[in-house]
Amino acid sequence: MSELINSPVWRDLFVNSADNIPWYAEFVRSLLRFVIALAGGLGSVPILVWLERRLLGFWQGRLGPNRVGPFGLLQPMADALKLMMKEDITPTNVDKALYYLAPAIALVPVICSLTVLPWNSSSDWGAVAPHLNVGILFLLAVASIEVYGVILAGWSSNNKYSLLGGLRASSQVISYELGMGLSIIAVLLMTGTLAMQELVHSQTIAANVPIPDSNYSVWTQSVSAGFWNWNIFKLFPFGLVAAIVYMISMIAETNRAPFDLPEAETELVAGFHTEYTSFKFAMFFMGEYANMMIVSAICVTLFLGGYTAPWGILGQLPASWTFFPTSVLNFVNHVVIAPAWLFIKLYTLISFFILVRASQPRLRYDMLMHFGWKVLLPTALANVVLVATSMALQQLFGAVGHFIAVGIAACLATIVLWVAYLHWKARKSGDEASRLPIRRESVVRAIAARMPVED
């Protein structure tokens, strides 16, 4: 055993720093990292489906699936099996090429965006592509491809409801991507980096500690790290505003309730995937749930400290446990505890979104557009400007600069809220006082103008 561990090939594969290893070691490492990401990403789709059905059941006064396996845990497997066994129907008049391409386009970008998601602090093993220094840009670019799948599915199905669903999806995703991008830009301004791992490191008081007996180092959390360093609390309240804008536009991006207009069952008979059956439908389904998981994971990484613990002590075994060798302590800290925190945060967030789905009614389409363009986008834009102002003022005046920026923000918010209030009041009084008589009169006149004159 010790011969194997000390052999040069083993050290190349698993121990040495990524800077000086042969190409085949890098290849094997990449494959391994990708397998880990796939297992974590796509493997959590059934768990997510189970969690959603179970929680929705409880919140609707039911039990949810509880028959297949313990607590119904095998229900997603049964669902997947059912989807695979179903007859694969291709309607006669569909655009064949696009019809077959659309599910793949919906699923592949989701898997691609798994590559930049960090699950622990190791600079060699922490993500599929831990050294990609434009992680967030890559993510934004890839994530927006996903909507093409939806649009093409709606277009190629040759079905007016599917087309309407695709159109709704495209306009909705384009509208909400702006707010999303701007809230991410606010985070980038605060942290000053695009790399996902450095985004996480910036949310903790981290130290670059070399691992003994090897020539690479890991980022280690110090004990004073904690939730007060997370981006959601950074430059309060600007980080919080960015987080809220991100979360709202994230629900809209994944087409979930209350923004699930592209697949509104009552209006569009499930929208863009009406004509899809069997495995092609399963791909849409899988893509949707994996996407939900990934945008939540990005939210956790950007705003909630990623894989770090909410309090530094909880993120690592006590260093005083010297009866374990250091390598075991390091292994448990980075391979067990850090991903466990990521998953805990992820599933808490997702449970919250399931609660939103369980309790909120679907928006009307004009309300959706109004909210996206007239509320979320200006808020996010103002937030970016205010974050920049705060940082500039902090360079000039120190910590007082932030309070000046908050004061500016408060003045702005007061003015905007006052104008909105006046607008609301005018509309309310207009509704009560003048709506009915004017309408009735104009209708009567219009009808009278069209009436044939009798003599």
């Binding site: 006064g61 609660l355 209030y421």
Partner: protein, 159 residues
């Protein structure tokens, strides 16, 4: 000014409404549900529940049905077929002159109106609360006399 504060109160209530909804739905996770686990626990049916038919017997094991076809005549959906046979002294199935040699009900046609039960002169056919009627083929849903007839009480006696 009081108008302003009433407006503020109205806006605040409208803004808080989604969160109130979330709280109200969210607490359901700790409330006990009223759901019954169906195959293990069956809710008792009403006294007048009309589901699957049964053909009754007298206490001595004789079939009540005398093969008169009145039920078939009363059936608005033409779901019942009765073919009568003559009783003989050696082989007596029912107390009357004749008995039902074939008795079939097409459960796909039946509308569970209960006219057959009303028209039966001997109380032979009765709609009971057996409601699990799903099958995977049409043939299996044509119920024959053997399936409809209640078990013979004489055969089940131990003494």
């Amino acid at each position: 000014m009081s108008e302003f504060w009433s407006d503020v109160r109205q806006i605040a209530s409208e803004v808080l409404a989604p969160f109130q909804g979330m709280a109200r739905v969210g607490v359901k996770i700790i409330e006990p549900t009223t759901v019954l686990s169906y195959p293990e626990f069956r809710r008792p049916m009403g006294r007048r529940a009309r589901w699957r038919h049964v053909l009754n017997r007298y206490d001595n094991g004789m079939e009540k049905c005398i093969g008169c076809s009145l039920c078939a005549g009363a059936c608005p959906a033409n779901a019942i077929l009765v073919v009568a046979g003559e009783n003989t002294d050696q082989d007596r199935k029912s107390p009357g002159e004749r008995f039902a040699e074939r008795y079939e009900i097409n459960m796909l046609r039946c509308i569970y109106c209960g006219f057959c039960q009303e028209s039966c002169p001997t109380g032979a056919i009765e709609l009971k609360d057996i409601f699990e009627l799903a099958e995977d083929s049409r043939k299996k849903l044509i119920y024959t006399k053997e399936m409809l007839l209640v078990p013979d009480p004489q055969l089940e006696r131990i003494d």
